[in-house]
Amino acid sequence: MSAASRFLERVGNLPIWNRIADRGNAILVKELRQSMRGRYFAVIFWLTLAIATMIGMMTFVFQDGGRADTTGTAFFLAMFGCLTFASNLFVPFAAFSSFGAEWEENTLELLLLSNLEPRQIILGKLLSAAVQTLLYTLAFGPFLVLAFLLRGLDLGVAFGLLLFVLLSSITLSAVAVMLSTLARHKVARALLMALMAVALVAFSFATVAFGSEQLFFSRSVFSDRFVLLVFLTIAAVVVSYCVAFGCTRLAHPEENRSTTLRVLTTCCLLALLGWAAFGFQESGGDDEVLYAFGSVAFLLLAVTSALFCSEPERLGRRVRLWVPDNRLLALLSGAFFPGGGRGTLYMVMNSALLIGGFAVVLGYAAPGFPYDQVIGFLLALTAYMFVYVNLPALLFSPFSKKLTRRIACRIAVPLFAFLVFFVPTVTAFALDLRRPFNHAGNPAWAMNEFAHGRADGALIVGLAIAFLVVLVFNLPRIGRGLGELVAEHGRRQTPGRTAAPESLAVPALALEHPEESGDARPQP
């Protein structure tokens, strides 16, 4: 064991690494050195390989010494299983605990002080997870080649599965790093760790089950050329959100913790719009595609807006510097600045963007298409999501300076949506009405009505009124949010903003020279 880790250490200390490392991410270099020197990685690494060898040999024996038709497949599955557990369980776990150590040892602030950006720190952790996964995959290389040489393995499926495991390893590591940025306290960390262990074990088993299903049944999902693309997209989106969200957690509350997430969300919405257009065209004008993508897009918007709309209303002191000097520009970019009121504006603007986008897709791709149903569906969806998010946000906004209240607000959003559905349903059951689920509080039913053009006047008017009322009551918040941006311009124009205060509260005993305590600061 120690010989092996000494070997790894020797390899880690070759001078060539130094030259490569000079170009690489500092965190990545540190993490790799740490794991090379540490016991955790080495133990897991060699243990996994030993177990894989054993399982491989057993498979070989059970498969009639390699003469059975399924030898290759079984052998591959065994290796795939080991690789899955190594890369989808141990790697994310290591990523989580390595970030936890930064909290524990108070080193995170040292990193921030050295002018490393939160983004670099998180990407460094993520990259080191990726390198570990790569090491595992390389170590399994000979076994996998052997599996390919044996009989019966479908190469397409095998490559698809390998790619899937690598993608999921990166994605899970990103989630793990993101979660660990949330867990500052020991107890929270221990709790999250336990939860993660359960989830990761379950996911790994599911992946192995999925793998065996794919390998042993000829019709595989990987025969569809889009499947890997979809996996890739989902992985990219999840990783981007995890990185962006993790970065905001590392920033000080007075810094900008929102703009990146807002821009990312708008980009995702545009991408979804693009996918919808593409899918609509490919499917020969199937409007189910639009309903599906529309729902996903609005759900994404609602979930992210629940964060944005419940932010503290006032600009942080380090965010103010970002406000453009040009008033018009400040107004136009207003929705992308942090703050609850501006979050509501963000939701309105992006809903409009989505509806407009879908209208254009329809008008462009299917000129004769009766699109009032689709647009009606999307408008109703907007109304639901807007009310769900912005009624709690409005009620909580006076208290949004406190973190606990913000969290309460974020919990209140789904709770409110649930209550709006649950209370009328139960009442209907109690009154023994005929269709207890068919009411305006049940968006699934209402959306279905809209999609089939059956929505009655009362539903439409009711939704419109709910939307307008919530919007009107939120207008002052939006106005204040925008006003703050415009006022920032005025504040900068006022001279003496950084002038010395009138009285320096130095007691009589202080013998400080007056010219030292005065405003000797030159204006840049």
Binding site: A26, G38, E105, L116, H252, P501, A505, V506, L509, P524
Partner: protein, 312 residues
């Protein structure tokens, strides 16, 4: 001259609790400034704001004229902060630790090796390079941390209670390092809740209590200022000390008289006038004085007289 550090009207609240209130002071280059106050006075809070890690509710801090609020990234380049909690990494040697932080400060190749070599020599860590950071003694950790803090060659060093928990020898070594740094024209803000740790090292002190400035200024000037109002005298006479003590206690205004070094030490308010009156009175009483020496008040006493004795 632009001060290396200027704290201006700084206020920081945590909820309803005000940790720092309208605090102002400045530190010049080459100056060692002791930042002194009892536990919970707001030293760490102030230092974290100076290091861009926290933000004030009001006021600002300027590092060589640049605001920590508005230019955090530029300020960080000119500043070294050594927090009171030392950050070690598991499975990391001293060499790796310095190498990593040098990289995070953007040092590469030759420059990096040269900087690390210089700092290792400065802090005498040469024989420790292959030791794990988690296995170092407190004094060694402190030195490593100092070396790390100096990687970016900062103009201003902020050291939060660096002497806490050090043995006397390590404390003296640290003091020498700090003096050497000041000799390199760096400004140093160094905090402590024990004044004697810093007394001889500092050029100036800033005393805070409950977040408010109690006093600030040059150490020798402050001592003189105190002496103008209050003197400490050592008396020796031809009678035995106990008799001398009794005689002295007859006098009004005398405080804290006690037998010490074969004589009597006492405090007396009222400057030169008071001293003259005491001598006059004693002579009238027939006490034959052989020695009358005014003693220097040390910083500790200055400090005690300012903070109502609420210091540990």
């Amino acid at each position: 001259m632009i001060p290396a550090l200027e704290v201006r009207d700084l206020t920081r609240r945590f909820g309803n609790f005000t940790a720092v209130e309208r605090l102002s002071f400045s530190v010049q280059r080459g100056e060692i400034c002791g930042f002194i106050g009892p536990n919970g006075a707001g030293k760490t809070t102030t230092m974290r704001i100076c290091s861009t890690l926290d933000l004030p509710d009001h006021g600002d801090v300027f590092i060589s004229g640049e605001s920590v609020l508005e230019q955090p990234r530029r300020v960080r380049r000119k500043l070294g902060f050594m927090p009171d909690a030392y950050g070690a990494y598991s499975n990391t040697t001293v060499a790796d630790y310095l190498d990593f932080f040098a990289r995070s400060y953007g040092l590469r190749g030759e420059e990096k090796s040269r900087t690390i070599a210089r700092l290792v020599e400065f802090t005498s860590l040469g024989h420790m390079l292959e030791k794990l950071t988690t296995a170092l003694s407190k004094g060694m950790k402190q030195r490593l941390c100092l070396a790390k803090t100096m990687l970016n060659d900062p103009d201003l060093l902020i050291l939060d209670e660096p002497a806490a928990g050090l043995d006397p020898r390590a404390r003296i070594e640290l003091r020498e390092l700090v003096k050497a740094l000041a000799g390199m024209d760096k400004a140093i803000l160094i905090s402590s809740h024990i004044l004697s740790e810093l007394g001889e090292t500092c050029d100036s002190v800033v005393v805070i209590e409950e977040g408010r400035l109690k006093a600030a200024g040059n150490v020798s000037q402050m001592t003189e200022g105190i002496q103008r109002e209050r003197s400490r005298v050592l008396l020796r006479a031809l009678v035995d000390p106990q008799a001398l003590l009794r005689a002295v206690l007859e006098e009004p205004h005398v405080e804290g008289a006690r037998v010490e070094r074969g004589g009597v030490v006492l405090d007396l308010p009222g400057g030169a006038e008071g001293l003259a009156r005491l001598v006059e009175a004693l002579v009238k009483r027939g006490v034959r004085l052989t020695e009358f020496r005014q003693e220097k008040l040390d910083l500790e006493e200055v400090f005690l007289s300012m903070t109502d004795g609420r210091v540990q």
